[in-house]
Amino acid sequence: MENRLEMKGITKSFGGVHALTSVNFSVRPGEIHALIGENGAGKSTLMRILSGACNSDCGEIVINGRPASIKSPMDSVKLGVAVIYQEYALATDLTVAENIFLDNITTGGKIVNWKRLERKAQELLAKLNFSDIDVNAKVSDFSMAYQQVVEICKGLSKDISILALDEPTALLSNKEVDKLFELLITLKDRGVSIIYISHRLEEIFQISDRISVLKDGCFVGTVDTADTDKQSLVGMMVGRNLNDYYPKREVKIGDVIFEVNNLNSGKETKNVSFNIRSGEILGLYGLVGSGRTETALAIFGLRSISSGEIFLEGKKVEIKNPKEAFRHGIGYLSEDRKHTGLLLDMSIKHNITLSAIDKFTSGLFSSINLKEENNYALGEVEKLAIHTNNINNLTSSLSGGNQQKVAIAKVLAPKCKVIIMDEPTRGVDVGSKREIYHIMNMLLERGCAILMISSEMEEIIGMCDRVLVMHEGTINGELDKSEINETRLISLAMEVD
């Protein structure tokens, strides 16, 4: 038996979007196997299929030489698979021992034998050289790293042979990372197969035995860590055909209208400076967790700023909340349509006019001129090509692409000069994508400036005049239109240079 785990021809699509196309992936016993690829390459989806959190459309999983049918998380647990996601699944108000044996709290008996539970938990932790963890302390009292150890122990309590970790070091400090690596080596020596997903190439070279690369839901290849280097990995992650999918625009780029100087906000935004000109799209690329959205929220007044200045048309502005941001003419299109972008159970019309309702109100009671509001909404529906037969329908009745256009209409209503668009085409079908790009060009013609945050390299390359690349809260580089290519973007985002 050469491979502990084999995933063959795994295919999965979500509503017409292919997340994985015929992926083959195999892991040997007692190895640390890194899985890399840019955002949306399909790493997490592959792990979700392995854990049974979602089912593949077709394909086969073989564990220890036997075909395995994984339909639910229960099945994967029985087969000795543990997947640890970025958000830990711990009951933080319970003790370490209780968490480790959460799904088998009676350890085989009918009632809880606390002494035995504690002893068993202690034994497990001791095996991993973490006997300093008090099994009777609440999980919430521990740091992220120790919580992760508890999470891994939870998996180990059930005799696992395959352990998958999704971005395990994203929240850990350097010291904690060392501790985690020690643990992973211990597990590896005991014969556990470890799948290690990370954006951090440094770590991957430090810990892994082999590396597999995914790109756009396809399997690119597996290499031995010893035989490769960062440049050749980047080479595997790039290489796409760019077509003329992106509408051309002929907009004259004007003067600087928006400027950010040495912005600091928490760990996610460190000394960020940039400017945008009218008629220009400035891209903000980076991997998940690089601080792009957090920086946008800080500008928009939704995260507190510790230092830094923001200038709009040469004048310094202070923005403490979204209301002030809109008043100054800065709009933000949220990346999360469902939770922060739209009121899904309100009508299309009410969503479109939400941010600019004051335009339609008058008098002592701020009564709304329904006719004007109606006409405005109708106009926007036509202009932005929102496909609906009635603007009084609920927004939730629209397709993802049309919902996104409503969200855009909502942000445009206050007539902002600077528009921050966070993942403007996420979860949107191809036709709507093109329409959204047209809307963006239309805005530029009006003299607006757009800051576009995107995880899609193609989109960045196709649409942006300039790109900033973020890495761990700082801007790692700026590329001009002529310099933008996939290799440069990935290299800067992963800090290969």
Partner: protein
């Protein structure tokens, strides 16, 4: 779905299910009236109908306040206690403080004081909930308990009677229990109808109404849209307190008596009425008119059960079941709608 596609033509261009979904309260009300008329000869009489309105107009007022709170996704369990406190405040100012001896001015002063008391309670609830980020259920449960305690302090656990010899008390009693000289339509019901119309207008046609619904629908998205969510979470509790105060005034006027436990449990009937009228406890959904009709529906049910001389115990059970059915109906209809 094919079977029903032909039906819509009979009722204009609106789809049948949508029409039923929207107007289910009215359908239920009409159904109840028909059934009640058949079951009891005393039901469809002017005296009986006016009696229902006289008794329930104060619930309808409370329902307006409650609806605005429910729209934001909150709940106000302190309404009943505010009814009690304001009833006592009114009776005490009219009798012990001697405001009852002055004419209309004395009554006006009492009413304004009651409204101020209700407003204060509501503002306290609203402050803790909107600006203190506390849970509406807990906060209003606590203020409800505090309020009932104040009732005991104010009254020394003894009822306070309004005196017919006092001019202004007499005026209040007349307004609260009588109707206009021509038809005898209860004044209380007139007051309720006027407020229902005003607040139905506010909900539909003003920025305040729109933002209240939006806040309950998805407060994060409203915050991202640059709107002061806290403000729109705060005001409904003030409104709810004021309407509870008005209810307390009418209740005391009608019974000529303010007791320690007046208003106890009213909030639950009011919440039930709003829900029968289609309001959602999750916020973002509900109408003033339909909440009032929901309240009337509950009133009719109580009335017909009384006319049929059913005891208090079976009445409670039947009322509870009807509330469950109402919620079940609105949920299942909504789900069907969502999957289409």
């Amino acid at each position: 779905m094919k079977s029903y596609k032909k039906i819509p033509k009979l009722i204009g261009n609106m789809e049948m299910r949508e029409w039923i979904l929207k107007n289910r309260v009215i359908i239920v009300l009409v159904f109840l009236v028909i059934v009640s008329t058949i079951m009891s000869p005393h039901f469809l009489t002017i005296t009986n109908l006016f009696n229902i309105l006289r008794q329930y107009s104060l619930y309808i007022l409370m329902a307006i306040g409650m609806l605005f709170v429910l729209l934001t996704g909150g709940i106000d369990l302190s309404q009943g206690s505010i009814v009690g406190i304001c009833g006592l405040t009114l009776a005490i100012t009219q009798t012990s403080w001697g405001w009852g001896e002055q004419n209309g001015l004395g009554l006006l002063m009492s009413i304004l004081l009651c409204v101020a008391v209700g407003m204060t309670f509501g503002a306290f609830n609203g402050l803790l909930i909107a600006y203190g980020n506390m849970l509406p259920f807990i906060v209003t449960l606590a203020t409800s308990t505090v309020g009932r305690g104040i009732c005991y302090l104010l009254s020394n656990s003894r009822p306070v009677r309004l005196m017919k010899t006092n001019n202004s008390s007499k005026l209040l009693m007349h307004i609260a229990s009588k109707g206009d000289p021509v038809l005898g339509f209860p004044y209380g019901a007139t007051v309720a109808i006027v407020f229902v119309l005003i607040f139905a207008w506010i909900l539909k046609y003003t920025k305040y109404g729109r933002m209240t619904i939006a806040t309950g629908s998805n407060s994060s998205a409203v915050r991202f849209a640059g709107i002061d969510v806290k403000k729109y979470t705060f005001y409904p509790y003030v409104l709810s307190g004021v309407f509870a105060a008005l209810a307390g005034i009418i209740l005391t006027g009608r019974t000529a008596n303010a007791t320690v436990d007046a208003g106890t449990g009213y909030e639950f009937d009011v919440i039930a009425g709003c829900i029968i009228g289609g309001a959602s406890l999750n916020g973002g959904r509900g109408s003033v008119l339909y909440s009032a009709i929901g309240m009337l529906t509950l009133a009719l049910i109580t009335n017909i059960l009384n006319l049929l001389s059913l005891g208090a115990a079976p009445q409670q059970i039947i009322k509870g079941i009807i509330i469950l059915v109402a919620v079940f109906m609105s949920d299942s209809l909504k789900k069907k709608n969502a999957t289409e």
